[in-house]
């Protein structure tokens, strides 16, 4: 482990670490544009130059391509280094407009930040001599390029070559005419294209979904996880609710990947990135629905849950637990599924319950991040034994078939829209044959139209919850803002149901529920809300997966 000094402070670094990363260990930022820890080092921006002293000999070196070595003395703040940074910035700003008031990257642009910190020079370049390049170019369906703002760091080019292996972008022309453009005949339309906006250190590449929607300083940022598939990529939710006049249907402004070495590194797929729109979609279910008489007033959520509980109880009383089926969902959180298990399997002895069905949509799986299983908590459902394995009840597609044939008096459906999952004929048959259908849904759909009672449930961005991803890692979502309308988290539905049905599910909040899981399930033993932390925690008995770089198996070379 090399021991070196950075700005007079000693630091021990892992072998092979470069100086930018070594300085980060001391919270020292060495400015850079082209360097990105997830991409190959090209050393072209020259912004990270520092003074390096080895055995008394001082020289200038680029920090990205200099490995920390024993006895090195690094100076990142000196007159010499300041001059170097200033000169590089001056080179960049010859032609690059510092048009922060109109650039959509204002507040997140490294050129802006470094200029304020290291530049602040008067331009020696007459305005008339500044070169002009392409503005507002569509490089793909989601991405817009402003060539004039591009600093040619090639991070996006390298991303498309090394990570996705698709190579849609390149630098064309040479010298002063060098310009970032699409490779002829290719458009930036891979499943991870949105990441090029994240890696762009300036405002050259912007996201059509976000550009000019919000200024970054108005937004708040919450660490969460994506629930788009069973990987559970770590993300930041950038949200803003104060200026709803701008776009009343939009509380989440964008999602950004959050670094987690063993889950998603620096990246996320576009499906996850743009999947947040469903949170504030126009068809969100905002209030409970019921088919029964309401005495002229709108029913409260509690009243609807009471009705569901009463109906379930009476069915069990008359015909036994075999008359009730629960079509549960692997998209529910650990807490939801835990209470579901306690309520239906443990207490009410309902055996016809499952989370896995043939009609569930499968996603496209790839060698990078995307998993074909789109349910974020399949592993959690397995660990929490939602299907009463070994019991007498029916599971999966048998359960559905039986429901269609009218074997159940009561069917409780969680999250699945059965109206699109089965044929029109089967769906009508199910409705006809089943005495009572209760439905927990976040959106209005065909099933909300025909179900007897519908409870609006909160979505992932409106509630705290934990999910267990395919690796066996328990991770949690955050709750930046309240649920839409009268929606409540699913676990609260079961809690209220339990209270009415006389089942003790006495939890004051979601943390209590999660902390209680360990008392019943060995794999969660000793894991509590706090210990899950921001990076997640593996289930007991499930080893941490070995690190494998997220990269296509057929990367193209750097350029």
């Amino acid at each position: 482990m090399p021991l070196l000094e950075i700005d007079g402070k000693p630091v021990e670094t892992p072998a092979g670490m470069n100086l930018i990363e070594a300085a980060r260990l001391l919270n020292v930022e060495i400015p850079h544009y082209c360097y990105h820890a997830g991409l190959t080092v090209v050393g072209s921006c020259r912004m990270c130059q520092v003074e390096v002293e080895i055995s008394g000999r001082k020289s200038i070196a680029i920090a990205c391509n200099t490995k920390a070595a024993d006895g090195m003395k690094i100076t990142t703040r000196s007159e010499v280094v300041h001059k170097l940074r200033q000169s590089v910035l001056e080179f960049y700003l010859q032609h690059h407009p510092l048009d922060c008031p109109i650039c959509d990257d204002a507040g997140e642009c490294d050129l802006q930040n470094y200029y304020m910190e290291h530049g602040l020079h008067d331009s020696r370049m007459p305005l008339a001599e500044k070169k002009h390049k392409h503005k507002v170019m569509d490089v793909g369906p989601n991405i817009v390029l402003d060539s004039e703002r591009c600093v040619l760091c090639t991070r996006c080019v390298r991303f498309c070559r090394e990570i996705t292996g698709t190579g849609e972008l390149g630098v064309f022309g040479h010298g002063r005419d060098a310009e970032l453009l699409n490779v002829p005949g290719k458009i930036l339309d891979n499943d991870y294209a949105g990441n090029v906006v994240d890696v762009c250190p300036v405002g050259a590449l912007t996201d059509k979904d976000f550009r000019f929607k919000r200024r970054v300083w108005y937004m708040k940022r919450t660490a969460s996880i994506c629930t788009g598939c069973s990987r559970g990529c770590n993300i930041f939710v950038d949200w803003e609710t104060d200026r709803r006049y701008k776009d009343p249907q939009r509380r989440i402004q964008r999602l950004k990947p959050r670094y987690n070495r063993l889950v998603n590194e620096w990246w996320m797929c576009d499906q996850g990135r743009y999947g947040y729109h469903s949170v504030d979609e126009a068809n969100r279910l905002l209030s409970p629905k019921t088919k029964s008489q309401s005495n002229g007033h709108a029913l409260s959520v509690d009243e609807v849950i009471t009705k569901i509980a009463a109906r379930v109880e009476s069915a069990i009383e008359k015909q036994g637990p075999g008359s009730v089926a629960v079509i549960a969902s692997a998209s529910s959180s650990n807490e939801d599924l835990f209470l579901l298990n306690r309520l239906f399997i443990d207490k009410l002895k309902v055996q016809n319950i499952d989370v896995t069905f043939g009609f569930e949509a499968k996603g496209k799986e790839d060698e990078l991040l995307k998993k074909s299983d789109l349910a974020p908590n399949r592993r959690g459902a397995l660990e929490l034994q939602v299907k009463p394995w070994g019991g007498e009840g029916q599971g999966g597609d048998d359960l559905i078939a039986a429901a269609i044939e009218g074997e159940f008096e009561v069917v409780i459906v969680v999250r699945h829209d059965l109206s699109t999952a089965m044929s029109e004929k089967d769906f009508a048959k199910l409705r006809r044959n089943t005495g009572y259908i209760a439905y927990l849904s976040s959106h209005e759909n065909g099933l909300t139209e025909v179900a007897d009672d519908v409870v609006p449930i909160a979505m992932w961005a409106e509630r705290e919850a934990t999910y267990t991803n395919f690796q066996g890692r328990v991770q949690k979502t955050a709750r930046p803002f309240d649920p839409a309308g009268l929606a409540i988290p699913e676990w609260e539905v079961w809690k209220k149901f339990g209270e009415i049905a006389g089942v003790e599910l006495n939890f004051s909040d979601v943390r209590d529920v999660f902390n209680a899981i360990g008392m019943h399930f060995e794999s969660f033993k000793g894991i509590n809300w706090e210990s899950v932390g921001s990076g997640g925690r593996m289930l007991n008995g499930t080893p941490e997966p070995t690190y494998k770089r997220i990269q296509t198996s057929t990367p193209l070379t750097a350029y």
Binding site: G43, C45, M47, S87, Y92, H95, H174, R176, A178, Y559
Partner: protein, 419 residues
């Protein structure tokens, strides 16, 4: 024109008619040294080249034998790349070797390949060199036909193929890593160093020797006359002779083969016939357009070898000596020089991409009379901000001459200013 130097090693047979024909070349000793080399141990060949003091004639002047010795012992396959990109303004010597004695080059490259046990040679020729390409390509075919190249060369058990590659005319493809990228079919952008020196990680990640045409052409001669005799020809630490490309305001421009360390003024006056029309010498650019300019006073008593020219604050580079007489405007000269480098900047790293372009615009002002005095200081500062801060040496190639012109001929720039 070929030089009339007293010691002619490389150019010895340049005047022989039809030397490009293998039969003629064989009569003049071609491939004799290859026959000897393949009977030696590869390391012995490297040791001879090391002992001869042969230095790279492409510009850097690095010891050729030492470079060969850098090849990792256990990594195969290995490649030899002949750098015939020759695009430094003022330099025109490799072309003569291509055209006049291609078999000498091929023999040298084969000996090098044998010394480092390479299995393939790439001859990278500047895109504009149409005729030389044809000549060398024919010579390669002849060498194959006679068993000097290909499988089991001269029954030594060692095989080596030779491939021709034309550049697309980019200066930066003469830089060894830019050349490698170009050979790999990519944009000629130089590679970041360290750690990827071609001898360790070169073409397709394999050990690769990149040597200039002239350097490799010397190898058969070294074997022929012996390392000691070769070393004795030049000045200390500078073995043998060099091909000096003499151009500019000179009576007899051309390529002259002379021992390393030949005095500059001897080359100008004795061999080049001095400056025509009785004009006075103003300056000399001693090693291609990227070297610092030397004033007439600095040219006195200057032996043309790597150390002596460096001691005078310039460099021998590719030994392209450009003579400038009193009629030449230095601001104009600088503009032409900067224009070349600004055009040839590959655009990969910031100081070079943006800096050369800016220098070009500033240098233009001295031509149209719109320059201000502060532009002189601005140019110097810009050059300083480029110098040593780029991925490859192109940054320095424009910064060094710019700085030297501005310092040594500041009065001319001041005179060209409007205020």
């Amino acid at each position: 024109m070929i030089g009339n130097g007293s010691t002619r090693l490389l150019s010895r047979n340049f005047d022989v008619e039809n030397l490009t024909n293998l039969e003629v070349a064989l009569k003049h000793g071609a491939y004799e040294q290859l026959k000897r080399a393949v009977k030696m141990k590869p390391e012995e060949v490297t040791e001879i080249v090391k002992a001869s003091g042969l230095r790279g004639h492409g510009g850097a002047g690095f010891s050729a034998g030492t470079k060969w010795g850098f090849i990792p012992k256990d990594k195969f396959p290995r490649y030899v790349t002949v750098n015939g990109d020759e695009s430094e303004p003022g330099t025109c010597k490799d072309r003569l070797i291509f055209e006049r004695d291609p078999h000498l080059l091929i023999e040298g490259a084969l000996i090098c390949a044998y010394a480092v046990q390479a299995e393939r040679i790439y001859i990278y020729i500047r895109g504009e060199y149409f005729y030389p390409t044809r000549v060398v390509a024919e010579a390669v075919q002849q060498a194959y036909a006679k068993g000097f190249a290909g499988k089991n060369i001269l029954n030594s058990g060692w095989s080596c193929s030779i491939h021709m590659h034309n550049g697309a005319g980019a200066y930066i493809c003469g830089e060894e890593t830019g050349l490698i990228e170009s050979l790999e079919g990519k944009k000629g952008w130089p590679r970041l160093k360290p750690p990827f020196y071609p001898a360790a990680i070169g073409l397709w990640g394999q050990p690769t020797i990149v040597n200039n045409v002239e350097t490799l052409a010397f190898v058969p001669r070294i074997l022929e006359i012996g390392a000691e005799k070769f070393a004795g020809l030049g000045s200390p630490k500078n073995g043998g002779t060099a091909l000096y490309s003499l151009s500019g305001n000179i009576s007899r421009p051309g390529v002259y083969e002379l021992p390393m360390g030949t005095p500059l003024m001897d080359l100008v006056n004795e061999y080049g016939g001095g400056i025509p029309n009785g004009r006075k010498l103003k300056a000399v650019i001693p090693g291609g357009s990227s070297s610092h300019i030397l004033t007439a006073e600095e040219c006195e008593n200057l032996p043309l070898d790597f150390e002596s020219v460096a001691a005078r604050g310039s460099m021998l580079g590719s030994a392209a000596v450009m003579v400038i007489d009193e009629t030449v405007s230095i601001p104009k000269l600088m503009h032409w020089m900067v224009r070349f480098y600004a055009h040839e900047s590959c655009g990969q790293c910031t100081p070079c991409r943006e800096g050369t372009d800016w220098l070009l615009r500033l240098s233009k002002r001295f031509l149209d009379g719109s320059a201000r005095k502060r532009d002189i200081d601005d140019m110097w500062e810009l050059a300083d901000n480029i110098d040593g801060k780029t991925i490859c040496a192109l940054g320095a190639a424009v910064a060094w001459p710019t700085k030297s012109y501005l310092v040594k001929f500041r009065h001319e720039f001041e005179a060209a200013c409007k205020n």
